[in-house]
């Protein structure tokens, strides 16, 4: 285990390893996304109350779930970078932030579109959407902070501190927004929980969640590889690799 982590910290080894992973992950991700989307759009039955508009759930919920998990991945990388000072962790954090921000934005946009046929309005200050919006701000803060620092090593450490503070705060934010919403909840727009979801609707949802996790991993790896090529453009191992290909 330790040797594996140690190897992950070495750019040449990681570049080769991630190359193999990406080769497999790219077709798997695209396949999962297409199958899941087709299943959710075409095969699954409509919701008896919301009709066909509920099919947005197959992208909205996975995007939201993975966006939140992505923040924890980013913060974990930040902690590794702060404690063990592994440069690869910096690269991971930097690669994960924009991906998480895009997924959060996707969850917000699809949520808004879903709101129109369901609630009759594009935007509702519902607990889940509000929490998503705050998560988007947290992500944008990390991205903006990184861009603002001139020294990129310092930038990575500053972002690590910020994302750790955010991680501690996220459960509190989610909980407080929940309470806030339940205090002010208007009776007319109650959202039916998905606890009663039928298995014919659940399987494509699980498939799409898996697909979005793969998508997250894939884009982060691709971002990291692009970053590595740039950072190590003068390093021996990369020069040799380029010569070979």
């Amino acid at each position: 285990m330790w040797t594996f982590i140690h190897k992950m910290g070495s750019p040449p080894w990681f570049f080769r390893f991630s190359g193999v992973v990406v080769q497999w992950l790219l077709p798997i991700t695209i396949g999962l996304l297409l199958v899941g989307a087709a299943w959710g759009l075409l095969v699954a039955p409509p919701d008896f109350r919301q009709g066909n508009s509920y099919r947005i759930i197959y992208i909205h919920v996975p995007a939201a779930v993975v966006a939140l998990a992505g923040y924890y991945v980013m913060a974990f990388a930040g902690a590794v970078s702060l404690i063990w000072r592994i440069k690869m962790a910096d690269v991971t954090m930097r690669a994960a932030a924009p991906v998480g921000a895009v997924l959060t934005a996707v969850a917000l946009i699809t949520g808004a579109i879903w709101g129109k046929p369901t609630w009759g309005t594009w935007w509702v200050w519902d607990a889940r959407i509000t929490s998503m919006l705050i998560l988007l701000f947290l992500y944008l803060g990390v991205v903006a902070l990184f861009e603002a620092y001139e020294n990129k090593t310092a930038a990575a450490r500053a972002c690590a501190v910020l994302s750790l503070v955010g991680t501690v705060n996220i459960p509190i934010i989610y909980k407080s927004v929940d309470w806030w919403y339940s205090l002010h909840q208007p009776a007319s727009i109650k959202f039916t929980g998905e606890s009663a979801i039928d298995s014919s609707m659940l399987y494509p949802l699980l498939l799409m969640i898996a697909a979005f996790y793969c998508l997250f991993a894939l884009t982060v790896l691709l971002n990291m590889r692009a970053e590595l090529v740039w950072n190590h453009r003068e390093a021996n191992w990369l020069q040799q690799l380029v010569r070979k290909v």
Binding site: A44, S53, V102, L218, T219, V229, V242
Partner: protein, 65 residues
């Protein structure tokens, strides 16, 4: 397959616009998100290749002159 015809798939009992719009607005950014790093890496790779070629050809030029 739940729907009977292609137009039913497109229309989705009046919800088609919302469903297809949200899928489009998901897959477009996802595609861009996948494509950008691939393009960036390829670009940098080509710069390195070009630089190596230049470095290799320079001594050869000097000899031929």
């Amino acid at each position: 397959m739940y729907f009977d015809s292609l137009s039913a798939v497109w229309h989705m009992d009046g919800h088609g616009f919302y469903v297809w719009l949200s899928y489009a607005l998901t897959f477009l950014p996802v595609a861009i998100m996948l494509w950008l790093p691939i393009r960036r890496q390829r670009q940098h790779w080509q710069w390195i290749v070009a630089e190596q070629r230049r470095a290799n050809s320079r001594p050869a030029d000097a000899q031929s002159e």
